[in-house]
């Protein structure tokens, strides 16, 4: 299956314009970018997609061995850029997708001329002096929490996610799969995400990189963002006045502005 179909890729914007590839992080799907990505479609080709196992991706392509490390996800990003023939691109990854982008750009530097890392963390679990913000036990607890909340998953895939009569437009726009996927895949993705250590990969990145850090982010604390900044060869660091881990949802304006300033520079 072609990468575009496997990853449920959506492309908009003028053909031939430089391409921006937006990648969602752990939890939810490409709809996470819906308040930010469309505003670039006037002068960029905007590509959004779902990682295999998330959103509208082809679940049949999910292979536990392939996706047991972030390299499997990075290979998909490379496939996507090659398949669309839009490289070199600016890759914009949120959360774990920032490390997926780091790996893809390390593997095939000629396909990626810029990276934007939103809320990156090269390692979530504390290690000696390094502060990722979590202990190994915390991650076990997360997996348990996910399990508790996927109890009725198989029944919930029916079109009941949202029937908000007050905002029918919003409901129509959303994929029914938003934030919901096969619990087994979600669990594996969580394990790969939170148990990865990509600190050694940062130095291999040659592309200029924008690091977007939220002021108050439980998942990727300031210490994690600063570590990424300090270990990338060519990093621009911007702290957004945003709370939480998803500035593209909570502060879409400032997020769009920061990305725009970087990609249009």
């Amino acid at each position: 299956m072609r990468a575009t179909a496997r990853l449920n890729a959506k492309v908009s914007g003028p053909a031939g314009a430089p391409a921006l590839v937006f990648a969602h992080g752990f939890g939810c799907d490409q709809n996470m970018w819906r308040l930010v990505a469309p505003s670039f479609a006037d002068d960029f080709q905007v590509v959004t997609f779902d990682h295999v196992g998330s959103g509208g991706s082809d679940l049949g392509s999910y292979d536990p061995a392939t996706y047991s490390s972030l390299a499997g996800y990075a290979a998909d990003v490379v496939d996507l850029v090659v398949d669309l023939d839009v490289g070199p691109v600016t890759f914009i990854g949120h959360s774990v997708a920032s490390m997926i982008g780091v790996l893809a750009a390390t593997e095939r530097p000629e396909l990626f001329d810029r990276l934007v890392l939103v809320g990156p963390s090269a390692r979530y679990i504390d290690d000696g002096d390094y502060v990722g913000g979590f202990s190994a036990a915390d991650i076990d607890e997360l997996l348990e929490s996910m399990e508790s909340n996927y109890l009725g998953w198989s029944h919930v895939m029916a079109p009941v996610i949202m029937a908000n009569a007050d905002e029918p437009g919003l409901a129509d726009e959303l994929e029914e799969s938003f934030c919901r996927t096969d619990p087994d895949i979600a669990r594996r993705f969580a394990e790969v995400t939170f148990r990865s250590d990509n600190r050694a990969d940062l130095a291999k990145v040659t592309a200029p990189t924008l690091v977007l850090q939220c002021r108050d982010d439980l998942i990727a604390p300031l210490s994690a963002g600063e570590y990424v900044r300090d270990h990338l060869p060519d990093a621009t660091y911007v702290v957004l006045d945003a709370v939480g881990h998803c500035p593209h949802l909570s502060a879409p304006g400032p997020t769009t502005d920061a990305i725009g300033a970087f990609v249009r520079a």
């Binding site: 709809n31 996470m32 508790s148 908000n164 998942i219 998803c246």
Partner: protein, 409 residues
């Protein structure tokens, strides 16, 4: 700050309002009781996610908050509040966010100790069921492997290949089996059969049938007699299942093989002559394990170098696909024109039958192909069985029966 939510004190649940920065702006008394904190310690100071267990906070940031921001509301999410003394309170949370200038997230919190305990038990039970299922699949696979020989024997002057494919995903044990074994020097028996039904009971009977056939083939010469004895054994067996079996006895005679074959309710083997002509061979008989006096006969013929026999179960001919039923015509179509090698023909038949039903076998499939080779060809394994005078005599009698050799006094 607490005044608004304080009016919510009458509610039979915890109630909090959370500002855009995640900080709790008001809380009712039941919520404060749940978290074990005073209003002063909570309101305007703590974030809602800050009161949760750390694993839950990650879920909150990666799922709860994005869903709330995208969809305006979220329901029935299971979290645990952590009280100052470390005690954890399982809760269920639903929330909605107002759609105005300074959005407020209104959150209701139910204590859900019993429900969560029950759900955890359900999860444990589901995990146990999944493990049991995996275990039973492994067991089925292992059991199924005993229905066919691990490898086909090397038979001087005869090329032999078998294929077996369980129905569906192989999670259920089927009843198809085959076997090929030596009786005496230059004398071999090949059986292919199908025990009705699936599951453990059928599997037990399949093992019984396969091993009984081995024992009987040593005692009795005629395939029909072997089947008659198997019929008696099955009737005596504590099972109401029956089976279909075809038994072939092959005796080497210079460059040829003398074949006797009997079928107990089983599809007849197909003879593919060296020049490509295709015919069914054998004598049709009764199902095995049903009648006390089954009708069973032998058919005898000779195959020469290059002639082949294809023996199969009804999983081949009964295969259904978009194009209808595979049928005997489908099988004739595959093998007509000759067999260049037993292994290739077996693989080709299996491949065509699977393709015909889009790769998903609806029934078990077993195929055994035999191809007569020239005297010097084939792999010559040392004969394990010493020639015995009584056997020699019996074989001479058999040759005579088939009109191929004068009975020597």
């Amino acid at each position: 700050m607490t005044s608004h939510a304080a009016g919510m004190d009458v509610l039979p649940c915890g109630y909090v309002e959370v500002g855009p920065d995640g900080v709790i702006t008001s809380a009712n008394s039941r919520f404060l009781t749940l978290v074990g904190l005073t209003a002063d310690a909570v309101v305007g100071t703590l974030t809602f996610s800050g009161l949760l267990a750390v694993g839950d906070r990650i879920y909150y940031e990666t799922h709860f908050r994005p869903t709330l921001q995208m969809q305006g509301e979220i329901h029935e999410i299971a979290f645990e509040l952590v009280r100052p003394d470390g005690d954890r309170v399982p809760i269920l949370v639903s929330a909605s966010t107002s759609d105005d200038e300074s959005p407020v997230t209104r959150t209701i919190v139910f204590e859900a100790r019993d429900r969560r305990r029950y759900e955890k038990e359900l999860l444990r039970a589901r995990r146990a069921a999944e493990e049991a299922e995996a275990h039973s699949l492994a067991l089925a696979t292992t059991l199924q492997q005993t229905f066919i020989p691990p490898t086909m024997p090397d038979i001087p002057g005869l090329e032999i290949a078998g294929a077996y494919r369980p129905a569906g995903d192989g999670s259920e044990v089927g009843g198809d089996f085959y076997d090929a074994f030596q009786i005496h020097s230059g004398e071999w028996v090949v059986v292919v059969g199908d025990v009705c039904g699936k599951g453990v009971d059928a599997a037990v009977l399949t093992s019984f049938v396969r091993h009984t056939l081995r024992a009987l083939a040593v005692q009795w010469d005629d395939p029909s007699q072997i089947l008659r004895e198997l019929n008696a054994a099955l009737l005596a067996h504590d099972s109401d299942r029956f089976c279909t079996v075809v038994v072939l006895r092959l005796l080497r005679d210079d460059d040829s093989w003398l074949v006797s074959v009997s079928s107990g309710g089983h599809p007849l083997p197909i003879l593919v002559a060296v020049e490509g002509a295709v015919t069914e061979v054998g004598a049709s008989g009764s199902l095995i394990g049903v009648l006390s006096m089954p009708q069973l006969d032998d058919d005898r013929f000779t195959i020469h170098t290059g002639d082949s026999l294809v023996v199969y179960t009804d999983g081949v001919t009964d295969a259904r696909g978009a194009a209808g039923t595979f049928g005997i015509d489908g099988l004739f179509g595959v093998v007509s024109g000759g067999v260049t090698s037993a292994a290739d023909t077996t693989d080709t038949v299996l491949g065509r039958v699977l393709d015909f039903q889009d790769g998903e076998a609806r029934d078990d499939i077993a195929i055994v192909t035999l191809r007569a080779l020239a005297a010097d060809a084939g792999l010559h394994a040392p004969d394990a069985v010493q020639a015995r005078p009584d056997v020699e005599e019996k074989n001479r009698a058999l040759r005579a029966l088939q009109g191929l050799e004068q009975l020597e006094a």
